[in-house]
Assembly symmetry: C2
Homo-oligomer: 586 residues x 2
Amino acid sequence: MSRKSKGRMSVAPLGAALILASGVWGAALAQQAAPEVKSHTTSPVPPYEPSLNVMPQPEQPGQKPGDPKLTPEEFAAANKIFFERCAGCHGVLRKGATGKPLTTDLTKKLGYDYLRDFITYGSPAGMPNWGTSGELTPPQVDIMARYLLNEPATPPEFGLKEMKDSWKVIIPVAERPTKKMNDIDLDNIFSVTLRDAGEVALIDGNSKKIITRVKTGYAVHISRMSESGRYIYVIGRDAKVSLIDLWAPTPNIVAEIKIGTEGRSVDVSKFKGFEDKLAIAGAYWPPQFVIMDGPTLEPLKIVSTRGMTYDTQEYHPEPRVAAIFASQYAPEWYLNIKERGEILAVDYSDLKALKTRSIDAERFLHDGGFDRTGRYLFSAANARNAIAIVDTKEGKLIDVIKSGGDKPHPGRGANIVHPKFGPVWVTSHLGDETVSFIGADPEHHPKEAFKVVQTVQGQGGGSLFVKSHPKSEHLYVDTPLNPDADIASSVAVFKISDLAQDKPKYTVLPIGEWSGISAGQRRVVEGEFNKAGDEIWFSLWNSKSQESAIVVVDDKTLKLKSVIKDPALITPTGKFNAYNTRKDIY
Amino acid sequence: MSRKSKGRMSVAPLGAALILASGVWGAALAQQAAPEVKSHTTSPVPPYEPSLNVMPQPEQPGQKPGDPKLTPEEFAAANKIFFERCAGCHGVLRKGATGKPLTTDLTKKLGYDYLRDFITYGSPAGMPNWGTSGELTPPQVDIMARYLLNEPATPPEFGLKEMKDSWKVIIPVAERPTKKMNDIDLDNIFSVTLRDAGEVALIDGNSKKIITRVKTGYAVHISRMSESGRYIYVIGRDAKVSLIDLWAPTPNIVAEIKIGTEGRSVDVSKFKGFEDKLAIAGAYWPPQFVIMDGPTLEPLKIVSTRGMTYDTQEYHPEPRVAAIFASQYAPEWYLNIKERGEILAVDYSDLKALKTRSIDAERFLHDGGFDRTGRYLFSAANARNAIAIVDTKEGKLIDVIKSGGDKPHPGRGANIVHPKFGPVWVTSHLGDETVSFIGADPEHHPKEAFKVVQTVQGQGGGSLFVKSHPKSEHLYVDTPLNPDADIASSVAVFKISDLAQDKPKYTVLPIGEWSGISAGQRRVVEGEFNKAGDEIWFSLWNSKSQESAIVVVDDKTLKLKSVIKDPALITPTGKFNAYNTRKDIY
């Protein structure tokens, strides 16, 4: 286990943007993209793509004497790069979150040379080496350094008019099938993000064949299933929401809408009486969420999340919606409002008199998941090394606790029955090798409830996801962002019964080797169980021009079961099993 | 009754800022201020007063080629004038509300000459004649016209730090008396705003003598009494909240705080168990409210009101808190969020998990009041000629109805028992002579409930307040903003029993004549009953350098009872009888 120390990450002074999930797909891609890069003599800036909806500004706002100038074309190109690569961690307005603030009072102190070099070489703590990886050309690094010395452009607002302009009902509800028109085992479909293709692949969990691929937004962040299981909602980083109808002869997109210029989260109404009725999507920019009609995506109610931080009570112009969770106890969604450090409970039973409850938690809230009963919600405030725990039955904060490691990044976390402490919820960490177990059964284990009952050491830092299943005896821990290639391309597995030991050992699954692919960084990310809970799927995620794969492992034997390969399987990242996602099984 | 048509107001194209209460004291003062004006050869711009907390900007934000320039001194002076005279109607960010928008896309089309002339001469619909009234000198009009062609300066945020920096507990709770230390009849005190003196006078309702005057914020907008009757909370237009302890040997200010740079509303917690515990104040800038500890004004929870308009669902950067009402049925305040058109119900029982309910109503919400039972809340959306009605027992919107006139301005309105329709709530209008009666007794008069059951004609437009009392047989209607001096200086009184007639007549009380003051515009404003309900007080409001007075009328006989004069009684406007205000009797 000496390898774990190799992946340990420490925090560097500026730009030490530990790449959490908000920006993680982009950043990790950058780190592995070197082989893709072409000559530096190509056009210094890519053409501006207005489809990304980041408006170029005819003049640089806030230009002051002495600020380095950019041409309008350079400004537009820098804006586009900042949106695609930087805003996830640093914020559209550069106020900082997972990444450090990059406001001009700070960047001007550091100066052009420092910025250029930092962008070029990155930092060991997570700021990608955009230059030496080849992801950005030297002229691009140059315009980014100059761009950062100018005031950020505030992107446009995106209200009801803009949403309605973007909204398309491709197949009206009346023209959709009234029963399932295919013989697919819908509960065992995997909705797989093909990040750089701007697509989602639906893969049959039984045959392991691609059923279909659908065009979605850019870099789909998550898939969520409607309560009936008929519909899949996906959201791209460009805040485009697509609705897939699984009852069609071949599942297809029946509606789509853009809800902003950047987004991460989508969910559905799950409370009794509201099944399949409503959906909600959260934006990073503008900082807002929108409640939509479930079957059509018609935007019904937009709510801004701008407001005060919970602790210092100062106004924040960009409090982003990081994650959304549907309650089973009330017609409510819980929204993690990242920069405010507040969990917002939104009651969707009356949109004309919208009830919300703004629960003080901790900055900067990111992702999280439920315990196995679906009652207790664990959310990571990763920049503060904390987990906020909410009782969704009582609708109340239970506690905010330290996670026991550096920068918890649970995804949705994992639920296991610990041999000593009973039901626990699990998170790994981005910043170190710690895997933390938090008691989640106050009824039978009141002493351990909502406390970190144990921490164990995994392969190293750079972990994004842990995963288990009620039928599994294992806990899987990925490490795709670990700088060590062996660690990044393999997965640690703990036997749950071993957790009674003081220093439990783990088995390393060499997923990269098993894939049969030898080229590329072969980052292995996001285990996802099938419905039966007897196999777990991992993405082997290479760059756009390289071969990727999905590697299926037999959970009982921990042996390779099959490798899914297809020329269309470009940059697979998140995978969402329809049944497990719908039932919050992880 | 031919005189009524004289006061009829119509809407002019731009700047037709019908002067509602947000800006009404300032605007009306301007219209009457001519005698005060000194030579135009005095300094063209007044010195900048940093105490007003509108930060001068070292450079003009958004300066574009061709924009007229202002020196930093001119910009600071224009900013100050805009804050004091214009922002109330047009908004700090000039997005418009009661007044028209003055964003640069509009002002540039109109051009410098148009703006200069409009500021100089005003419009018959309510834009004050700042130039010809002498309130602004020609050089001041010139800088204002140039200022409007430049982008507005966004004033600074005002968070917990700024509030705490401004917060003073002058007499700690432990050092305050534990029982009433004077023999004043506290229930019959009148808290009287001395607008231009930046003071509040406490007047003994029995002896009609000034008990004391206390230094407050600029142009105190309202006074509100704590549930026990011990404390008075006042808020100035500069968002300074002052807390007066009536138990002191001589009532005095025991705490103060600034909650922003512009404010209008303050209220207290009235629900059982929370009496005298909490206070809330609403700001115009920044758009936010703050919940404070009642006896000390310690700021506890700040909430931004920035968000989407209820109807077009577009982001508004400046949704102001126009009025606040305390529920007796729940630990809730109802806040009129002007530009959003939403009534926000704020539950103050748990500040760490603040519950709010955002009730869609109508733009642009202004003031309002309860029916006599305190259950039904009537709020004017005056720019849309509408009244939003909320059932505070059920916590629900009942309806939004047309008021029957042009720009309802109820103040808190008046409650009478109509001879035909039973209990009704009454509002007059700024834009015309209409007085509207709205059914408020669904139990015994279900057919008439929450409908305009009758409209009658008063003296003319320019009315701000109606008033009655459970013991009174009269309804009083002021018209201080009517351009006709006779109408502005008198009050119409309807005998309630006459309202059964088709076109009931009213009696005119020549309050101006009765005051014995002959100089000045002698605007008569805001009738306020004493606790016994047998006399009603009116402010005779002249300019700062002229004599003003309070005129007391015997309600039974409608005869002059007494005139309160005092050299210290400078620009009296709002008057708040302690008992009636506390018990919502109007």
